[in-house]
Symmetry: C2
Subunit: 136 residues, 2 copies
Amino acid sequence: MPRLNHVAIVVEDLETALPFFRDLLGLPLDRVADVPAEEVRVAFFPMEGGEIELVQPTNSESGVARFLARRGPGLHHICLEVEDLEGALERLRAAGVQLIHEAPLTGQGGTRYAFIHPKSAFGVLVELYERPRAGS
Amino acid sequence: MPRLNHVAIVVEDLETALPFFRDLLGLPLDRVADVPAEEVRVAFFPMEGGEIELVQPTNSESGVARFLARRGPGLHHICLEVEDLEGALERLRAAGVQLIHEAPLTGQGGTRYAFIHPKSAFGVLVELYERPRAGS
């Protein structure tokens, strides 16, 4: 069964947004880190019931930066964990779903992931993570 | 510590959206129910790591319907559980945060909730649920 891994929120500036999410909502900030591969800087709030991530683009050309310019700050994507990422992508592709990544990418820490295009997901940008297999 | 209770996605038509979320993404559909107080019909997918809800407006005047008309389908709001809802609202109000509901509402099943205005939450519509107290 898929698990909700995280919800990402795009903001213009992390330092401006942190007081609201950390201090007023009381979300538990774990760390702030640059993610160069995605051209973003991310604040991670690991929580029971799925992590919340605040994402600030670090240039004006990335997908996240263009989303921010077009839609403004707000909810950006959800990430679901699946057990077999290739199998999930193949099933989606066979059903005519438009993928942003036809094959899994590998992120920091070795996580394999891919995004589904929101055009095929009712306006929702959906990221799929491959859940580490038991024993691996 | 707050817990992510659910993520809500607004769609034009549940029946059209269900095959993608249930059959292709494999999300576990628990039930579809009308929520007259919110003027919506909701498909609930309870998941480890936070529930996903698909929300279809049932008229054209509700807040959800106007969101759909203005922004199109997609991510609508996140819901965080807090232990003391009045206390959380008071803290937010004192900090100048704009609330949609100044006092908690009571939903189906007795859940007490209130929404924070996205203008004060970096573009994110945030719902707060009061977590049932232990022993109550």
